[in-house]
């Protein structure tokens, strides 16, 4: 295949332009070419949890706003498979206090945008159902509960020439907290800057009454008091029923674009691979907390090793640091797993966490049992995870993160 004139001109222009660049090779920053030292930073007391990493990789971390279950949406002619976390082009996370009008505004935008082919909206309860399904077979996850969190939209885009413009338009919508776009392996996260949580925002679109609400049921924005729900209580499976299947009694105006919404479909119960010594029934999430496995040979200095693990644990759970900084040197196969974690674009927010115990299985491997509370007390996870000593650094194992 021969180049046409445009291609020849482009090739020549690129070669000429590149030749003009003759940057002298400098030295990398001091210490760059030295082996990475083991980090020993002061740790923030009790921040993030490890389940979070699981949730990140699972693609379902964003937990959701208190959205009235009675709110419904129109599902007219939206075709296609439900949009899962893995095939989402853009994930939009609403502010935790986003109103129904703001959520409806995002729907209106999506229905009117030619660049959006389809979308799925998940309430926090629905997202929790998905998280539970994904974590049902995860080793060490004994329980997952939630009381509130942000809702999310998942968009599947049509052909987009300027994904940045679409991303900017979405993040500028009222009530939107964050937009994570993933196109062809490139991921970017845009965060709303001028919309403090809970602040009333004047919608840029006409307020839309979500069909089905009818105003009969006032929307509850405030999360339920933590004391009213035992932390180990899960929402009933009834919340998995897609709230988007009800056709409202009144048809929308004929001028309105058809909805592109694909209702959320609760994932099928996970078929866990039975461990050698257990039965084949998937482990219910309400099982008693995981326990540490039997001890093996400890390292030469168990106290120092345990301290190093605790420091690593605290460092990787320090939500004030960028995710990449926290996990780059503290994750087995980081070059492969870190992009996955980053691609999810969500880091959640752990309210508190406790290490319940550390057990050395060998001089270079240990099990760690921790309890983590996420999202303002909304998600409580007890996890059994594993760390391994690599090049003098304790790291989360691949199996833990996957």
């Amino acid at each position: 295949m021969t180049d046409d004139r445009t291609e020849q001109r482009l090739r020549r222009a690129l070669q000429n332009a590149a030749r003009e660049v003759d940057a002298p090779m400098g030295t990398l920053p001091e210490g760059t070419l030295e082996p990475t030292p083991v980090r020993r930073r002061p740790r923030v007391p009790v921040p993030v949890a490890l389940a979070l990493a699981l949730l990140l990789v699972a693609g379902s971390v964003a937990l959701i706003a208190a959205r009235d279950d009675s709110s419904t949406s129109v599902s007219i002619g939206a075709a296609g498979e439900p949009i899962t976390a893995d095939d989402t082009d853009i994930q939009l996370t609403m502010d935790v206090n986003a109103t129904d009008d703001q959520i409806a505004g995002v729907r209106d935008f999506a229905d009117a945008s030619p660049e959006i082919a389809a979308y799925t909206y998940l309430t926090w309860q629905e997202l929790l159902v998905e998280v539970r399904a994904r974590l049902a077979c995860a080793p060490g996850v004994a329980d997952v509960t939630a009381q509130d969190g942000p809702s999310v939209f998942r968009f599947r885009v049509a052909t987009v020439d300027d994904d940045q413009a679409l991303e900017r338009a979405l993040v500028a919508l009222p009530g939107v907290a964050e937009v994570t776009a993933r196109f062809d392996g490139m991921t970017s996260v845009a965060t709303a800057t001028a919309t403090p949580s809970g602040t009333a925002v004047v919608p840029t679109m006409p307020p839309t009454v979500v069909p089905g609400t009818g105003g009969a049921t006032p929307t509850t924005l405030a999360p339920e008091p933590a004391t009213t729900t035992p932390p180990t209580t899960l929402p009933e499976p009834a919340t998995t029923t897609p709230p988007t299947t009800t056709v409202p009694p009144q048809e929308p105006p004929s001028t309105a674009p058809p909805s592109k919404e694909i209702p959320f479909v609760a994932p099928a119960p996970a078929q866990c691979t039975a461990p050698p010594s257990s039965d084949v029934v998937p482990r219910p999430m309400q099982t008693p907390a995981a326990t540490l496995p039997p001890a093996g040979d400890p390292p030469a200095d168990p106290a120092a090793a345990e301290q190093a693990i605790r420091e690593m644990w605290a460092y990787t759970h320090d939500g004030s640091l960028p995710l990449e900084d926290r996990f780059r040197d503290h994750l087995e196969d980081a070059d492969e797993l870190l992009p996955l974690m980053k691609s999810i674009g969500q880091d959640g927010a752990v309210k508190s966490a406790n290490i319940l115990g550390i057990q050395f299985l060998s001089p270079t491997r240990a099990a760690l049992l921790s309890q983590n509370v996420f999202q303002g007390g909304s998600l409580d996870v007890v996890q059994l995870q594993y760390v391994v000593l690599i090049d003098g650094q304790w790291k989360w194992t691949r199996e833990t993160q996957c």
Binding site: A13, L14, V21, G185, E336
Partner: protein, 161 residues
Amino acid sequence: MTVEDAEPRPAPGRTRGTLAELYAAQYLPMVRLGYLLTGSTAVAEDLVQDSFVQLQRNWAGVREPTAYLRRSVVNACNTHHRRVGRERERFPGLVRDTVVAEDTDTLDALAALPHRQRAALVLRYYEDRTDAEIAEVLGCRPATVRSLVHRGLATLRKVIT
């Protein structure tokens, strides 16, 4: 600390050059690639430096350092474009790419393309990469690469002819 002092963490069972050798061999090509993707030598140098730092951090687990580096540079340029785009919105007129070259029409038209199309064209027509190689760098399918190149060329033809 100089390049000659480089002693990256060894990768057991793998034979490859040192980070210093890679730095010596790939610094200028990567800066040129970054320049063609950003339009600024200074920005390209910064991004390439950052990419080498990132590579060093992950050195032990990287199987193909050059491919990793190329992808890292392209991703860094992508991030740069996004940041510049936001700054342009806030401070219009203050931020601009600085493409100064012989065929400014072509390069200006190239700079106006969406960054993925731009990256695909640069990798194809500057680095002579195949669809599969470009797909690896951009993290997409070869068919997507062909689409990006086709659309990018179509736009260039309208602008520069």
